[in-house]
């Protein structure tokens, strides 16, 4: 099965990625939000190995309704690594805004929380001369299961090309605490929320399909022949299609001969 990876080699590649791409910008430090979940814990472990624990700053940013276990797990990861960490409550900031719009639904509130957290991380990155590390994995990015300019924002994302299933595997190799690896994935936006319940399928199921569809480029016919449910295939295909705008830069209206990103093309590491 193709989702299995050599965790040692992957670790080496990703640690090198953080070390080189952070230092190229002329800084030596990184900041990230620790949610208590496995993705941000894994990124913290990779970053601590790449930059040294003293150079990785973690921010735990709970909201009033957040599960207390999340904060406990975030602290657990930070303490095991010995990285500087701080708790910044976002309740007052988010509440103050929604007092004007008390009817806002869960989605709006969740998005606002995610973006509130990211403004804090970017502010801290400026204060600390550090880069913001992203913690979205490939499964979430492909499904669009994240908030644009919220948790999906970052300067560098070490785990954006590995599926959730691979995140679990690599986390074992890195020594992420068992309690974090074994709990049910959750965005923790309301009590009892789990990702898999909200999405309607498990990460293992969808990763298997995504791997065959995206990485192996199997068409619908081949996927069906391989035993994937046609309805499941179509649902996921549409999710990828409909969330594609989140994976691209904002569209720029072309009027000149050289438009940014269309025919004005340079690598981001230009001159580094």
């Amino acid at each position: 099965m193709g989702l299995k990876v050599n965790a040692k080699l992957l670790r080496q590649l990703l640690v090198g990625f953080i070390r080189e791409e952070v230092c190229k910008v002329g800084v030596r430090k990184a900041v990230l939000g620790l949610s208590g979940g496995i993705d941000s814990a894994l990124v913290a472990f990779l970053a601590a190995e790449a930059l040294g624990p003293e150079n990785v700053y973690a921010f735990v940013m709970p909201y009033r309704t957040s599960n207390p276990e999340s904060e406990a797990h975030a602290r657990l990861a930070a303490e095991q690594l010995g990285i500087p960490h701080e708790v910044v409550e976002i309740t007052s900031m988010v509440e103050s805004y929604f007092s004007r719009y008390p009817d806002a639904d869960n989605m709006r509130r969740g998005n606002k929380m995610a973006r509130e957290r990211m403004t804090i991380l970017y502010d801290q990155s400026a204060a600390l001369s550090a880069l913001v590390l992203g913690t979205s994995n490939k499964t979430e990015l492909l499904l669009g299961y994240g908030t644009l300019f919220g948790d999906m924002a970052s300067a560098l994302n070490p785990i954006g090309d590995i599926y959730k299933t691979q995140v679990w595997h690599l986390s074992e190799e890195m020594g992420v605490p068992r309690a974090i690896i074994e709990k049910k994935p959750s965005a923790d936006l309301w009590a009892g929320q789990t990702d898999e319940q909200e999405l309607g399928f498990t990460y293992r199921e969808v990763d298997e399909l995504l791997y065959h569809m995206v990485d192996l480029r199997m068409n619908r016919e081949e996927l069906v022949a391989d035993g994937f449910d046609p309805l499941f295939i179509d649902t996921i295909y549409h999710k990828i299609q409909n969330s594609h705008f989140k994976r691209r830069l904002p569209v720029i209206a072309k009027v000149s001969n050289r438009t940014i990103d269309r025919d004005f093309r340079y690598s981001r590491d230009w001159g580094k």
Partner: protein, 283 residues
């Protein structure tokens, strides 16, 4: 003739000609002081790989001061190196030079410019039009750049043209993580260099870079492969390295006696069939 090669597994800075030039000259000096006969650098060693719109900015004419400096150094050591070449008619090539004794012994312009997957070369570079072997003080050689090597015909033509040493300059990105202890690209390249050496009874000097550009890693693993297909020496994976290998004329002679595939290769039959295929395809 026996000789020693140094494979310079460097990490160029993207688009920084001056910095890369200094670094390369100091590696060449090391080769000279440690007595290597030939120093080999990766594809686009002077510029880095994902250049995109930088291509015209970092392109060098054949008479540029940086190349002149390398030419001067080549009086003390042979040098094979990749760079962006600007022609007089403003075409830009992904080129490689073999410098020796103050002269350009050979210039190869990359023929196969990949445009699939993460590659975008044909958009920025003009295509080279020839694949030729050339004589050096260490015997007849051929130069190829990365993707060229993946087209069986390219090393074949060089071997038929008399090359006994193939130099391949590379910027091979890391991809294809699996259960294996090596990446997909590493496994594929190692099969390729070994098989090519064996088929053509040639030595392969493969120099691949390291470092990251926009999150894409280059895996290194530069190697000297004997005509038997066995690896003589191999560079580190993911890290900068300086790999020295000795090439023994006797080993080449013995291998060519043991498996004389190149001697027995029939150029007339190949030519006849290729002409037939060309005619049939154009019908």
């Amino acid at each position: 003739m026996n000789f020693t090669v140094a494979l310079a597994q460097i990490k160029p800075k993207l688009g920084c000609l001056a910095d890369n030039g200094e670094m390369i000259c100091s590696v060449v000096e090391r080769g000279i002081s440690e007595g290597a006969d030939l120093a080999v650098f990766p594809e686009l060693a002077l510029t880095g790989y994902f250049l995109r719109d930088l291509v015209p900015e970092v392109a060098l004419r054949m008479d540029s001061p940086l190349l002149t400096r390398l030419l001067n150094l080549s009086r003390r050591i042979d040098i094979a190196i990749g760079f962006v070449e600007a022609s007089d008619d403003y075409r830009f090539f992904n080129s490689a030079l073999y410098l020796s004794n103050g002269e350009v012994l050979h210039r190869h312009r990359k023929v196969y410019l990949p445009t699939y997957g993460l590659f975008d070369e044909q958009r920025y570079f003009a295509r080279g039009e020839s694949i030729r072997a050339f004589d050096t003080r260490f015997g007849r050689m051929g130069l190829l750049i990365c993707e060229d090597m993946w087209h069986l015909s390219a090393p074949y033509v060089l071997a038929m043209d008399g090359a006994t040493t193939l130099i391949c300059l590379s910027s091979s990105p890391s991809r294809g993580i699996s259960e294996d202890a090596s990446l997909g690209s590493t496994v594929a390249w190692q099969k390729l260099t070994s098989t090519t050496a064996m088929f053509l009874n040639c030595r392969i000097l493969y120099c691949n870079r390291v470092g990251y550009e926009d999150g894409v890693n280059f895996w290194g693993g530069s190697e000297v492969v004997a005509p038997s297909g066995n690896v003589v020496v191999r560079g580190k994976i993911f890290e900068e390295d300086y790999v020295v290998g000795s090439l023994d004329e006797g080993a080449l002679r013995r291998e060519r006696i043991f498996s004389p595939m190149m001697r027995d290769e029939s150029l007339p039959i190949t030519m006849k069939e290729l002409r037939r295929i060309e005619t049939e395809r154009s019908r």
